[in-house]
Symmetry: C2
Subunit: 129 residues, 2 copies
DNA sequence: GTACATCCTGTAGCGGCTACAGACACAAGG
DNA sequence: CCTTGTGTCTGTAGCCGCTACAGGATGTAC
């Protein structure tokens, strides 16, 4: 049995974040000692790590919660794959958006300094469309 | 002279967002009619479009504000370039993070279905590290 | 026994909007 | 003049996923 501090260190999830997850119902409420302190067993720590991995892969916390609850289902694959695919789509469209930004920004940065009179960056931002 | 609705349509910035920018001091307070309605001239609309372009390029609103105020400076280029370069760095590191996610997620999605017994996605998320 | 670390709850803040509620204002038609 | 419909106003609360306190209780080591 472990304190929240130990669970935090071993799972890589900040203490405040653990409490936040509990408050939000992402995780089941932790057991408590007589004096009211949270206590975590290995499963509890594994769940924290699970959520962290989900977040590192870009899943929304609600999706992380859904995936976690799927681990108790008999045939979780199809559902899990669906959620993962949706997230993959989201990640890819974010990359696409950022790539557009990257191209335009680097063009702007390069242009700047080539014009004597006006700043290319500011000019461009003022353009009609 | 234009109403906020017209300014919104012509700049592509939502009405609520325009008021938000004013509240936050991103934009100078708009002129008002006798009855208290906001009024925008062509310059005001141009400023709104400027902010929108900044946002579309990923600039934080505070940076957008800084860039906007640079348009009144005599030698804005160096400063503008600095802000743009910082933003470009941010955008690039976001792309890098998302690319890692993309690779890992697509591997997971592909793996799923190849194992009969356990879901590869959920297994992976439960892994030690 | 006394420091000091750790934990608790509750609340407020971040960024960048978005979405109301409830009250005024204005233009067009009857 | 009155109604109807649309536009606008202020103020506040919510979204996401935390993060950062304040102020108090509890646990541990010397």
């Amino acid at each position: 049995m472990h304190s929240i501090g130990t669970a935090s260190k071993r799972s890589g999830v900040h203490i405040e974040t653990i409490r936040y997850y509990e408050r939000e119902g992402i995780l089941p409420p932790a057991e408590r000692t007589a004096s009211g302190r949270r206590v975590y067993d290995e499963d509890g720590i594994a769940r924290l790590r699970f959520i962290r991995h989900c977040r590192e892969l870009g899943f929304a916390i609600r999706d992380a919660q859904a995936l976690l609850s799927l681990t108790a289902a008999p045939m979780p694959c199809a559902e899990a794959q669906l959620i993962a695919q949706r997230n993959l789509d989201t990640v890819r469209s974010k990359i696409a958006e950022l790539s557009v930004m990257e191209r335009e920004l680097s063009a702007l940065v390069d242009q700047c300094g080539t014009h004597d009179k006006h700043c290319a960056i500011l000019n461009d931002l003022f353009a009609e469309d």
